[in-house]
């Protein structure tokens, strides 16, 4: 329970800025309006879209709300609040999120476009898993970006885990191969693979990813493969396209949304789960190794709408 409480605190804290603005606007709407009319719905639409929830998901949420208001003959704007919370939770329902890889021999492949926070997330995750008593290795399969390997090595030091890499310009699949061999020899539990940032519309780079994917499947079939797409929380609707495109070349099992410690509302998490049905598994709320949290959509929505301090 103590762990649970601290998580709540962290989440609330990380989302403070998010929540403040979002909440203020919502409270204003629910308590400031006396009637449920077009203006009311329009204001609501504005708040949701400003949160990056997206036009479609917003439309769906509002349609549901309108229908409900009609059916239940709701007159008070304030009464809409709980319904809205439930509706968003329903949108986000993707069943139970599995973290099986944590307790198996596994490979976690981390992919995403440039600068979203892949390397940092790996550092944080490595630390977390090592603290849970797992034997962890990180592999620097970003052989493209200048000093990417040094960056990951520094994170490996911070997290006190093994590191393996290759020279700039070398074949990333070869690095992964070496890492797998090393994992087997050292009886490592979890191998985290960092990849180069790539825009999802670059075909050759996406093929390279597929090759890495195949190497893992071929050389390490006994391992459980978890593929995480990292999305930047400040990204707008393109995040949906990114997740979709990455799922075409790899078997995406989860999403990580980073940088939720800014003012971005992270509404993209709602859109991702609502429109793509992919589970958000972790969120990044800062730059230190502790700033990674497991994601629970119910708690996320509650935190978004939480008013007391």
């Amino acid at each position: 329970m103590a762990e649970k409480e601290s998580f709540w605190k962290r989440l609330l804290n990380g989302l403070r800025k998010t929540r403040d603005n979002f909440m203020k606007s919502l409270e204003y709407i629910f308590n400031g309006f006396t009637n449920i009319d077009d203006d009311f719905y329009e204001e609501l639409e504005e708040v949701l879209i400003m949160g990056d929830i997206g036009v479609r998901t917003t439309e769906r949420i509002l349609d549901e709300l309108k229908e409900n208001v009609k059916e239940e003959k709701i007159k008070e704007p304030a009464e809409c609040k709980q319904f809205l919370i439930d509706s968003i939770k329903r949108q986000m329902d993707v069943g139970d999120t599995a973290y099986d890889f944590e307790n198996k021999k596994s490979v976690v492949l981390v992919v995403g476009v440039n600068g979203v926070g892949k390397t940092t997330t790996i550092g944080k995750l490595a630390d977390k898993l090592r603290c849970e008593g797992k034997k962890v290795m990180v592999a620097g399969a970003d052989t493209f970006r200048a000093a990417a390997s040094e960056q990951l090595k520094e994170w490996a030091n911070r997290a006190k885990v093994d590191f393996i890499g290759g020279p700039e310009g070398s074949d990333p699949a070869a690095v992964v191969y070496d890492a797998i061999v090393s994992c087997k020899a050292k009886n490592t539990d979890i191998l985290l693979v960092d990849t180069a940032g790539r825009l999802h519309n670059k075909k050759n780079l996406m093929m390279e990813l597929q090759k890495i994917n195949n190497t893992i499947k071929k050389e390490y079939p006994e391992a459980f493969l978890e593929t995480l797409v990292v999305l930047d929380g400040t990204t707008g609707q393109n995040a949906l396209v990114q997740a979709k495109e990455f799922s075409e070349v790899t078997d995406i099992s989860g999403i990580v949304v980073t940088k939720l410690d800014g003012t971005a509302k992270g509404g993209i998490a709602i859109a991702i789960q609502g429109e793509l049905g992919l589970p958000v598994k972790y969120i990044g709320v800062g730059e230190t190794k502790e700033d990674l949290e497991k994601f629970d959509s119910n708690e996320f929505v509650d935190a978004l709408f939480y008013t007391g301090e």
Binding site: M50, G115, A146, A147, T234, G236, Q237, D261, T263, A264
Partner: protein, 446 residues
């Protein structure tokens, strides 16, 4: 792709508009609802969109629509024009310090926006302009950020100044300036750590660099994929640190890039360059008008606009043709046709499309309205009184002298132009078929 269907939807609405004779308020509203959706899906900030839609509604419902044109075409045109207006139509260049001072450029932005790569790219651009740039590593926080800048600097053949990650960025900046003036560098570019705009301490760090070093230009680096928050990010950076220009990164992705519009609308600061790839040469001049059409995301609809414009021109051409037949073509008409010609991409391209013109006529015409002379001609006509423009016969020597003075030209030039105007008039009577023909390309009375 998620956006395609919207584009189609918008097209559908516009088609419906085109089918009707007159534009009602409901029509405008319906069309603009789709425009609004398209812009929101492109991540243009909600408030910016709202403002935009209001502006367009006002214009569309105004008298502009009543000019006897197809009202649907008018709405399309206004949407595109307003978008281009908002985005700005001119490219903006990097500003350098004057009078032998060292130009100093500070890069700023959120984490992961692409500052370090962009810094190295910019150094390459600056070098191409014949300058000697120095890169300064002021990101002392992110692991291996300094190494990244060093590797990229080496690739660009540009020196990197670093004091490791133990000194304060403002101190690094100060030492870098000393080093630069001692060693003959004329441009110094500071790479700084990524930071959240809500992180007071980190924002103060940028301010303290600015307080220590006289910064010529602060450039905000923004990821093209940024969502609704782009407005908060850019306005906070502008308020707290002060920005002079923007570089948009990762435009080689498939994002519609509405953030660019939001940033421009909120800060009014020009976008200088666009990052178009991971190679250090992938930094391009930013074209605001192209961005406008990318955000709208509908090349096909835009070609409809062009068609609409061509039709508008045709309307004017028909009026012109009537006048020519009656031989009451005056200087006002000349101005109008010059405007049309500018739109068509200059004289030479148009002449090429005119059948039945022989080479002597061609050179005569070319002489009369050479593209370079257009500006002079415009100045001459604009220096005439309304009466003179309507009645070329009024132009006596003393009037011509006044006109020449007004246009800032030699009287000989005014004489030449008036003479050629009379010639063109005669020529037009000989080629009545050139006017008002289909295709609208042969209507220029020169």
């Amino acid at each position: 792709m998620a956006f395609d269907s919207l584009s189609e939807k918008l097209q559908g609405v516009f088609k419906n508009l085109r089918g009707k004779g007159r534009l009602t308020e409901e029509d405008v509203k319906a069309a603009l609802k789709e425009v609004k959706m398209a812009l929101l899906e492109a991540d243009v900030n909600f408030k910016v969109v709202k403002q935009f839609v209001n502006t367009v509604t006002e214009k569309a419902l105004g008298q502009d629509v009543m000019n006897g044109l197809n009202p649907g075409q008018m709405v399309i045109k206004i949407v595109n024009e307003e978008l281009t207006n908002l985005m700005g139509s001119e490219t903006t260049e990097l500003r350098f310090a004057t009078g032998g001072d060292i130009t100093t450029i500070m890069m700023a932005g959120l984490q992961g926006a692409g500052k370090t790569t962009t810094t190295a790219k910019l150094a390459g651009k600056v070098k191409l302009k014949g300058k000697k740039p120095l890169l300064v590593a002021c990101d002392i926080y992110r692991p291996a950020a300094i190494e990244q800048l060093q590797v990229n600097g080496q690739k660009q053949g540009v020196e990197v100044f670093s004091l490791g990650n133990k000194e304060k960025p403002s101190k690094i900046a100060k030492k870098a300036m000393e080093y630069a003036s001692k060693n003959g560098f004329d441009v110094v570019i500071f790479d700084t750590a990524g930071r959240l705009h809500v992180d007071e301490e980190m924002m103060d760090e940028l301010v303290s660099i600015k307080d220590t070093v006289d910064i010529t230009q602060t450039i905000l680096v923004v990821d093209a994929m940024t969502g609704q928050d782009a407005v908060n990010v850019s306005s906070t950076f502008d308020d707290k640190v002060g920005i002079d220009g923007v570089i948009i990164t990762k435009l080689d992705g498939d994002t519609r890039g509405g953030a660019a519009l939001s940033i421009k609308a909120v800060t009014g600061k020009p976008i200088l360059y666009a990052g178009m790839g991971e190679k250090l040469s992938d930094l391009e001049q930013f074209y605001p008008d192209r961005m406008a059409s990318r955000i709208l995301g509908m090349g096909d609809v835009l070609s409809l606009i062009e068609k609409a414009e061509a039709e508008i021109d045709q309307e004017a051409a028909k009026n012109l043709a009537k006048k020519v037949k009656k031989a009451d073509f005056d200087f006002n008409d000349y101005l109008v046709s010059m405007e049309q010609m500018k739109k068509m991409g200059g004289l030479t391209s148009i002449l090429g499309m005119m059948p039945g013109i022989n080479s002597s006529q061609m050179s005569q015409i070319q002489d009369a309205v050479d593209d370079k002379k257009m500006a002079h001609i415009e100045a001459i006509i604009l220096s005439m009184t309304p009466k003179e423009r309507e009645n070329p016969k009024l132009l006596n020597p003393s009037r011509k002298r006044r006109i020449a003075a007004g246009a800032g030209l030699d009287i000989a030039e005014v004489n030449r132009f008036v003479k050629q105007f009379e010639q063109s008039k005669k020529m037009m009577k000989q080629m009545p078929n050139m006017m008002g023909r289909r295709g609208g390309k042969m209507r220029f009375p020169f």
